[in-house]
């Protein structure tokens, strides 16, 4: 029985990891990462590692995605992707 649960959790983790990589949009990726954290926590619980599961839940599915979302918010606050030199600090170009 435990074996079946572990296999299911392993497949979920593998799937979530793949999805997290293939989602190229950082916001969606953050959400998938959060889900990956959940599946990992589930797997660790089945592997009799409650301590690690708790950490993974706190870090992997809360803090890391939160930091990514805050970064995205900072980076995207201004419309346009930049790169035209107008938003670079002056005096750097020759």
């Amino acid at each position: 029985m435990t074996d079946v649960l572990i296999v299911v959790a392993l497949l979920l983790v593998a799937g979530a990891a793949t999805a997290a990589v293939l989602n190229r949009d950082p916001v969606r990726q953050a959400l998938v990462l959060s889900f990956l954290g959940l599946t990992l926590a589930l797997l660790f619980t089945f592997l009799q590692a409650p301590d690690v599961a708790l950490s993974q839940l706190a870090v992997g599915s809360a803090v890391t995605p939160l930091m990514i979302l805050l970064t995205v918010r900072k980076v995207r606050r201004r419309p346009g992707s930049g790169g035209d030199g107008a938003d670079k600090p002056a005096g750097r170009e020759r």
């Binding site: 301590d51 599961a53 708790l54 950490s55 870090v59 803090v63 938003d87 600090p89």
Partner: protein
Amino acid sequence: MSSRVRLWVFLVGAAGFAALFAAACFDLPAFGTVPHPYGVRAVHAALSHHTANVIASVNFDLRAFDTLGEESILFSAVIGTVVLLRQARDEHRKDPEPATVHPPVRRFALLTLPFALLVGLYVIAHGQVSPGGGFQGGVVTATALHLLYIAADYRALERVRPLTLYEIGEAAGEAAYVITGFAAVLAGSAFLTNVLPFGTLATLSSGGTAMVLNAAVGLEVTSGIVVLLARFLDQAVEIEDPGEDDGSPRHTGGGGGNGDDEREPA
């Protein structure tokens, strides 16, 4: 390299890596069959020091030196983030807009907040008895504080979050860990030796110095994660890029570098 070449370099490398790793996997002992000598010794050692949670014993007693390194990683990453996310010389600081929060959201967050804080502190305190400990509890506590951002707005959060205090708390946690180690040296034992009485198995006061180290880690992690998240929030909400200007009132960072992130608490 063009992206095609890059992909090919990766694919060739990945094929080699996969072959190597797969070969190793089939030479590994079958999943779930073989006990490890170190693991067995660790269980005995933990029980000899009356620590019910063997993982806490490994982290805070047997391999407490690893945890010292780990806490220092967190410690330096927090200093590093504070330094990296400082307000640059050419940036401005803008007061965030007061946000309107839907009442149900506010009620939910305010209800959850004390509960989450309590859970966090409970998890820290019971580290040597049940799953959890300074690290897990610290993260929960720190994240819980940020529910206030959802409940009210950024300014409410800033008021209950005197960052200076948390930065000092982080350093104090790190210092407490090292000093506990030094205390054992002064007592004539090796660094980080468990010199306190071990107490009774499965009670809150069991584990000797493991308990003290656990508390130090709890303090450091709580403060550290609060500071980390604060820095990211600060960047996301308050600091404007050089040249960014939308006409709102702002403060310039001055010549010095870092902005005054901590206003006087109201």
